[in-house]
Amino acid sequence: MALLQIAEPGQSTAPHQHRLAVGIDLGTTNSLVATVRSGSAVVLPDTAGFGLVPSVVHYTADNSVTVGHLAQARQIDDPRNTIVSVKRFMGRSVADLPDASSTPYRFVDAPGMLKIKTIAGEKSPVEVSADILRELRIRAEQSLGGELVGAVVTVPAYFDDAQRQATKDAARLAGLNVLRLLNEPTAAAIAYGLDNAAEGIYVVYDLGGGTFDVSVLELTRGVFQVRATSGDSSLGGDDFDQRLYCWILQQAGLTTPSDKDMRLLLSRAREAKELLTDHHTTRITAVLSDGEAIDLELSAETFQTITAQLVQKTLTPVRKALRDAQLATEDVKGVVLVGGATRMPHVRKAVADYFKREPLTNLDPDKVVALGAAMQANALAGNRGDEEWLLLDVIPLSLGLETMGGLVEKIVPRNSTIPTARAQEFTTFKNGQTAMAIHVLQGERELVQDCRSLARFELRGIPPMPAGAARIRVTFQVDADGLLAVSAKEQISNVEASIIVKPSYGLADHEIAQMLEDSMQNAEQDKNARNLLEARVEAQALLDATRSALATDSALVSPDEHGNIMQLLTQLEICQQGEDIQAIREATEQLNRITEPFAARRMDVGVRKALAGQRIDELG
């Protein structure tokens, strides 16, 4: 029986018409899926009760894929085929990576976006992300008991077009209909209901496992604009563990522990860190592989002292973000904490001291982004009734095109609310010029070389005119996901080159089509396997029935008929062992047909037996 959720007044759906929608936080370290059930946003846990899925994917030679905790366990013995933190590679080329050599992966420089060589073949970050998203989709469908209408997937506010498109492609590959990409800080703000709060400036401080992001949002008329973002891509909760681990080594007088001891002590460090969130002291105990026992007492004060520098380090990007937005701490109306590491009391205190106000902490900082995304998904799927729900996002970076001299002319300034369309007129540079190259760029810088190239296309067939006479109108359209289409039209002759901009990260449509096809081919295989099994089962049933009929009623068949039946029976037995579904079906059908008269005779005999010795009037 389907389980029901409580709907908003007047919003009950017809049976089988539930609009199931989820929010997905596709994180660097962990990912989550959440939904709105009976009016409350909740994270969907797995059967073991875990809400967080480590963003880790493990590939094997036989093409099996594991995701999450199981994959994480393989990180140590099979690091090359265990992809962690794939989000860092989304929409990136090898040249974009500052520290490619410090990872265990074998990168392949594909056009636009890198690929990672694994035992199961080259994997693009899009495919790896899709494997994580697929896991979340399946969990959601099992938890909600039906297919999803769509999902809102969150992305960092600083993600550029290529990274956003890559995320969207990954979702599509995972079989998700993306209702909207949503900026992570915006999602966190929605989870706290700030979209209904007073207009003003809000800061989202997001200290995750391995990354730190700070965003300055401005809320006006229910719309969040990202005023500034900053952060540190290699600063997170793991660094606190590392720092504590070093302290343990120091205290215990160890220098170079074995890999096994290092992992043990690191996990002890993490446990101690988490305990100190609501305890004043804790003991760190461990027995090393050489039998040496470690037993240390750690006070919250000591922990705070040894990690104070890390906390201070987060404040540098905070200052920078405020400076970029030309704001002071007094302008900030509220501060939202996101990320598990913000549970540490001294982190909270540092943020409170800096902004001179208590940050919002009553929602689980690990879940707040997914919860906000779920609320947005619920609204976009149409489950919210008559309440007004405004568009909530803006484009993060300006969009423009190249003009003479390698300069960038901005068409859509950053922080324009989306969807948006902007147009500007350009003209020809030379007499008789019949074509114009249009180079679409993203970024805040003035020179082409400093901005990110998104696409190039040409407008051809401009009638020959003196330089400066042609009027070419270039229109930029950004849809609700922040994705871009550009068109150019010469106004006098009406020649037009309207083109959908493909972000130049390199996953061409045919590649995406190929991936989709691959997944569909697998579906085909699955279906065939099932058909084969069904045909075999059916054949077996007929074989059994025929044999038992022949055994009991052999008197009812002529020797000729018996021979024919036996022949087809043997034929079906042979086919049944094979893989040819059609052959099994045909042989089944043949045997079925030839035994029909025999079956009819058996039936007659049966009826006669039943009726023998009974008078007609007894039969009523």
């Binding site: 029986m1 389907a2 029901l4 409580i6 007047g10 409350s40 909600l144």
Partner: protein, 107 residues
Amino acid sequence: MALTLSEKAANHVANFLAKRGKGVGVRLAVKTSGCSGMAYKLEFVDTPIPDDLVFESFGVKLFTDAKSLPYLDGTELDFVKEGLNEGFKFNNPNVKNECGCGESFNV
């Protein structure tokens, strides 16, 4: 004639109402639709309708209308977990047939 909540269901409804921040109870009703004739309605109640029939179970108010009650009389609304899925279930003694999924029924 009465409608009830199981204690578990009552706790969940109370919890949902608290998180939602508004609402006076929950409405159980039937409407004609679905593959087996009738379907359940389960909604939050912000403002009761004048002719509503009101029951109370474990401190939670249950609302229904006179038309629905004959089909629901004796129903206990339960909250159950099935694998990863969880939600409310109508234990309705009047039901003769359900569609496969149990979302619609006839009496």
